[in-house]
Amino acid sequence: MPNTDYPSLGEINAIQTAFEGAGYICTTRIATVVKLAAALEKPVLIEGPPGVGKTELAKTCATVVNRPLVRLQCYEGLDESKALYEWKYGKQLLYTQLLKEQLGEILEGAKGLSESMNRLHQFGDVFYSEAFLEPRPLLKAMESDSGGVLLIDEIDKADFEFESLLLEVLSDFQVSIPELGTISAQSKPLVFLTSNDTRDLSDALKRRCLHLHIPFPSVELEARIVASRVPDLSQSLTDQLVRFVHAIRSLDLKKAPAISETIDWAKSLVLLHAKDLDGSLVLDTLNVLLKYEEDIKIAEGQLPKLMATTTV
């Protein structure tokens, strides 16, 4: 039952090529999960160390299927009024003020309280209609009529209660608004959730998702990624650089450099017109790769050993 909404996500090879075209080199595992997500209409929970391209995957996916990307950044204290919907209270107040006279006209001649009430009832819940609804990212993703990509970023940062709020959205692609009823997605969006694994997510949430764990890439894959992102860097320097980064990752660091750091480093080497990776150059630019003073110290101490790995 191939999904007709996203025809470009049908075949694994096609997915890989399309993603590569958009500048994202993906493994077969990633492509397989994307295919399954489109076909089974299930959200994907992406886990992995920071900077391996979790968010990027969702963005690229939006580019590939050529649909809008709706992004919801999670943080502690995120609640439904910021994620789902909110009533436009100001507008409601303003309108009641403006319509006061109209109300007077409607109620004119009504005898007694119950008759006035009955007249008011005839107008229904005008102030709780879609005109007064402020859609937030989740509702926006549901309302889009041609589908789209919904990215719920860093779900592990949100509160536990928020996860429960997500369950309805993730399993049925619908949002319940007490005053209006249930709003279902016109066309089901592709949903990506990312997590940095700072805490365990609830089983209920995990159960609704496909799982994708993106580890640090292999040397070959990372070289391809760097080559595609920073084409100006020479082939030999790319190889040296990637091998160096892999050697650094094997050290006991507070934060190991991720792909994004490798790419940043490659870009700065291009700016510096570097031809070859030598000790002094590395020392000068190490702060691009490592974000903590202690880590830089450790790496500096091991520099000769690390440099040795860059030559084949």
């Binding site: 694994i12 595992r29 399954l36 089974l40 299930k42 107040l93 365990d200 496909l210 799982h211």
Partner: protein, 475 residues
């Protein structure tokens, strides 16, 4: 075009296999719910069964829920399909009922060993017996088919216990028709030793194959239950009695329990208590109600995690228990990050550093080496008072592990009383059973008066329960 009916058959056979695999995964402690099963089958049908790597990726996405489970899943997948490969190859033969004739040209080993002279062959009487023939000519496919048929007949997949293997081997041998060979062997035993040897050798081969088949069935279908049984008995076993051979399993079990506790309490820690009024938020909320604050909002206060100080007796009699307590507490570092540990037998010293820098097991070795010896609670408590009493406050939980047997010396209960007064709570864990408390040189009956909680603790279940209670307490 393939015959559609055939492909459906194949599909259902494959999803049967998949179901068996899920069972196997559950045995490996990957929780697979019925909904997961449906997803996995759907994914597998979408991706097809032919590409093993593709199938593995697809199933991993639907079944493995964390990076930890992913590792288990990957090894389980490889193991299972290696086990199942042999079985299913044979099964396919049974289903088709047309075993390809194995090219086993002429020379079978038994023929080679045949005596060249035309003496009447004593084995001639057995020829024509299908089982004997296929054994003698080493006809692999015929044997596999026979064994699979027998396996289906005795329902070997119902095996549930390790000890049932012998029984199933016998049943299968009977179903295969080993009876005739056995009768022949008995006959030859007296009359013709050479023929007896030959028949027995073939029977041994057969037995070997059958045993193999039963073991495979056991691994696939039953090992999960047996594992559960072993884990359960291990968690009730006295920690002091756990020997080296069980350590690996024990560690796995302990880590699993610790993970469970950490998951449960890690979450509860994040729940907030009401604190001061959050004015901004309240005003914003009150816009909806025309400025009347119907829904007051509160600033959030994060609940502090308990600080634990573990004081462990590492003298000979209780060293093993101390080791497990420390291992358990350090496995819980996610929810108990500020744990400090002290070890003593006579002198007491802080060992937290060791645990911060070394793997738990090595740290414990070091601790034993440094502080092992004869017990003196009086001195140990005195040392502790000097070293860390000042830092004990209303958030501190003191866990003392020891048998309270003080070789008739003064246990310095006054110091313990002071610790009780300062700390949030003092928990004394004694590996001895309650009946032994107060006998001989045990000071336990006096000691317990100066503790908030005094408990017998000598197996993993008790230990986990105590830590669970500790974590659930509110401040």
């Amino acid at each position: 075009m393939r015959n559609p009916k055939e492909s459906i058959n194949q599909q259902s056979a494959s999803s049967d296999q998949l179901l068996a695999f899920m069972q196997y995964l559950r045995g490996k402690k990957i929780p697979v719910s019925p909904a997961d099963t449906l997803d996995a089958i759907e994914a597998a049908e979408l991706l097809g069964y032919s590409d093993r790597a593709l199938l593995k990726n697809g199933l991993a996405a639907t079944l493995a829920k964390s990076s930890h489970e992913l590792k288990t899943f990957e090894s389980a997948f490889d193991e299972y399909f290696k086990l199942a490969a042999n079985t299913s190859a044979a099964k396919a033969l049974v289903n088709n009922e047309e075993p390809q004739a194995t090219p086993n040209p002429g020379v079978s080993p038994s023929q080679e060993n045949m005596p060249p002279e035309n003496a009447p062959d004593p084995l001639e009487g057995l020829r024509g017996n299908a089982l004997f023939d296929s054994l003698e000519s080493q006809d692999e496919s015929a044997l596999s088919v026979a064994i699979e048929t027998a396996a289906a007949e005795v329902r070997v997949e119902d095996i549930s216990l390790f000890t049932q293997r012998g029984q199933y081997v016998r049943k299968m041998l009977d179903a295969l028709g080993d009876e005739a060979l056995r009768a022949a062997a008995i006959e030859f035993e007296q009359s013709d030793p050479a023929a007896f040897e030959a028949v027995q050798a073939l029977r041994e081969q057969l037995r070997e194959r059958v045993r193999d088949r039963v073991e495979r069935a056991y691994l696939i279908h039953a090992s999960a239950q047996t594992e559960d049984l072993l884990d359960e008995s291990l968690s009730k076993l006295k920690l002091g009695n756990i020997d080296h051979s069980q350590m690996a399993r024990f560690k796995r079990l302990m880590e699993r329990m610790a993970r469970k506790l950490a998951a449960r309490h890690g979450r509860r820690r994040r729940r907030y208590r009401r604190g001061k009024l959050h004015v901004g938020e309240t005003v914003r909320k009150s816009v909806a109600t025309d400025g009347i604050p119907f829904h007051p909002r509160w600033r959030k206060i994060e609940r502090k995690r308990p600080q634990i100080m573990a004081i462990c007796d590492v003298s000979g009699s209780v060293a093993a228990y101390a080791k497990f307590l420390l291992m358990f507490i350090y496995a819980l570092q996610d929810v108990l990050p500020r744990t400090r540990s002290f070890a003593f037998s006579a002198a007491l010293g802080e060992v937290s550093d060791l645990f911060d820098t070394l793997p738990v097991e090595e740290a414990i070795e070091r601790v034993n080496l440094k502080y092992g010896g004869a017990t003196d609670y009086g001195r140990a408590l005195n040392d502790f008072s000097e070293l860390a009493l000042a830092e004990v406050n209303h958030a501190t939980t003191l866990i003392i592990l020891g048998d309270a047997r003080n070789n008739q010396a003064d246990p310095r209960l006054d110091l313990l009383a002071e610790m009780k007064a300062r700390a949030k709570q003092v928990i004394w864990l004694n590996p001895e059973s309650t009946r032994m408390w107060g006998t001989g040189d045990s000071e336990m009956l006096k000691v317990r008066q100066h503790c908030h909680v005094a408990k017998e603790c000598n197996n993993l279940n008790q230990l986990a329960r105590i830590i669970d209670q500790l974590l659930s307490e509110r401040r």
